[in-house]
Symmetry: C2
Subunit: 116 residues, 2 copies
């Protein structure tokens, strides 16, 4: 199975690659917020914050709802399951690879002792 | 503690946002490879692959070593610990938030039954 071809991961990792966007997600984890609140909190213009929220919305991390003149943001339904799974799989492969290297190093060391 | 301001996460999530770069990491998890091997495998030009490997190298995910005329790529020392931690923390917050919503919905439902 080709794991790396996963367009959703492209969008979500790109969304997570910005500190303000990660901050917005952490903030919305505490409480829903309007775009104006978020702009204030992160010292940004409304336009700048709207762009960030748009990226998070496209990735499915945030949903927004306009009531009257206020657009409220809340956490979306994506719980980063695929992202966590990809990273976990990578970590397993990584450990296996470095364990194998450790074994080779140990073998070389013990060989050296015998030779020396 | 401000978690989202973490420049390393910017670089690593951006590195992971591309399917070829994720594919290269999966491939290097199986075996070291030269840039030429990787370019062939992913049907890319050498220049294109060099760029991708450069991004992975900057993120600390890959190290390269030139022996003679061949540049060999292998997995770097970063095991995605911080990335996994960030995602795990987000998932915990997410679950808590949606559990709280569930409770509200349940409460409203039982209220409806009483009122009805």
């Amino acid at each position: 199975m080709v794991q790396y071809l996963h367009p959703r991961l492209d969008v979500s990792f790109a969304a997570l690659s910005d500190p303000t966007r990660r901050g917005v997600l952490e903030q919305l984890g505490r409480a829903d917020a309007s775009i104006t609140d978020l702009a204030d909190r992160f010292h940004m213009t409304l336009t700048g914050m709207k762009k960030h929220v748009g990226v998070l919305e496209q990735a499915g991390f945030v949903i927004t709802e306009k009531i009257g003149r206020v657009r409220t943001c809340k956490l979306g339904l994506r719980r980063l399951e695929e992202e966590a799974a990809w990273i976990e799989r990578y970590r397993t492969v990584w450990e296996a690879r470095f364990d194998a290297l450790d074994e080779i190093v140990e073998e070389l060391k013990s060989q050296e002792k015998i030779d020396g």
